[in-house]
Symmetry: C2
Subunit: 240 residues, 2 copies
């Protein structure tokens, strides 16, 4: 529990997966860790409210809060500076012996920003991770599409991949989840359609949130929100 | 809530992910659904105790229980017969209007046996799924190895794949989890070593259970237990 630095007991940096969106998809451990942590941190984007904080709101009971605000940009330097500054603030708490729970949408190790904080702090402080339910698991549950079956292969691909890499991934796996659709969605959609896989593709947006959408690709909107993904299941019958 | 068949309200078949092993990695929803279900079902293997039941034991309060016992065999026919018989027993409860919670290790849609029951019952009864924390998320958390980062690709591959398919999968993705090691472990290990990826491979057995193991591949035992996997992360520094 915690480490030692300079002779005094230091706090732990704990990445806590809060699941895909529904507050009751937190784990019992995540609830307990958040409730017991003297400091709760979470990323925000250009001052917007934090979804991770909203998911975990029922477990916030006056803990100190640290929002790590990230600039709205695709370039990496400003984000790196924001993580530097955020990590320095968290280091202050940790050095004083206070555990810091970092709220992470989904699972901290699954395309999360927690790793950027851990990278800056793991040499000096103990790091722990509480795994969570991913958006992919939530989307599979909503769509009732088994992701992995028997000896099937699964790929998780970012929509940022070039067409040829997307094609190769779609053809080499029985099940594929394509994340990070955003502005790449029209291109990803065209690749899936050209392979004849549109009838086997399901679009899921904001899985488990009140305004979730689960649609065959043919009925999906033209623009994909940030929290959306495609599930492609090449086997004929999802329930056999 | 439930469906209708023959004019009367029928129960729901609910696949409930109970997570990788630690009882506090159940979600709040899973705990509530299990506690509220009049019938709890789970697979057993040749009469052995059910791990899923053990994980969820704190939430069992005298509900009716249905063990669906599967024969110890790799051939499919006897297993199909066992699912037929189990589904028929669950159908009896569902037809009487009783919800049935089927306990599933990890996540029901991630290489689970729930799909074999749903396939037999979804035409007659409402099916729901409560997603769970997978063994892969748990292993990543324990090993502190980010599975997906930035625009990296992830593959989940069964160890049953032939060498060439394993090689192709290992080379085409930044992160790979190899499941279902069992008797294929020596061969999988040889493929990973031949690609020079052994220094980037972590062996995780029984993640989050009291006797869990997290070891560099070079220190892994020669025989892999049923609940074990390999994580291969090709990027240099997991925390950057």
């Amino acid at each position: 529990m915690g480490g030692r630095a300079g002779g005094s007991v230091t706090g732990r940096l704990i990445g806590v997966g809060v699941g895909p969106g529904a507050p009751d998809l937190l784990t019992l451990r995540a609830a307990r860790v958040i409730e017991g942590a003297p400091v709760v941190a979470y990323p925000t984007l250009a001052g917007s409210p934090s979804l991770a904080r909203a998911i975990a709101a029922a477990h916030l009971r006056g803990q100190a809060e640290e929002a790590i605000d990230l600039p709205m940009t695709e370039s990496r330097l400003p984000a790196q500076a924001a993580y530097d500054a955020g990590a320095a603030r968290l280091a202050g708490h940790l050095a004083q012996g206070r555990d810091v729970a970092v709220l992470c949408e989904g699972d901290p190790m699954f395309y999360g920003s927690f790793m950027y904080l851990a990278a800056r702090l793991s040499a000096r402080f103990a790091v722990e991770v509480v795994p969570g339910v991913t958006s992919v698991a939530a989307a599979s549950a909503l769509a009732r599409l088994p992701l992995g079956a028997r000896t099937g292969r699964i790929a998780v691909l970012p929509g940022t991949l070039p067409d040829e890499a997307l094609r190769a991934g779609l053809l080499a796996h029985e099940s594929v989840a394509v994340l990070k659709l955003g502005r790449h969605f029209p291109r990803v959609r065209a690749v899936v359609e050209a392979l004849g896989l549109a009838p086997r593709a399901t679009f899921v947006a904001r899985a488990t949130l009140p305004d979730q959408e689960v649609l065959p690709l043919a009925e999906a909107p033209l623009a994909a929100p940030y929290f959306s993904l495609l599930l492609i299941q090449r086997e004929a019958d999802p329930w056999t």
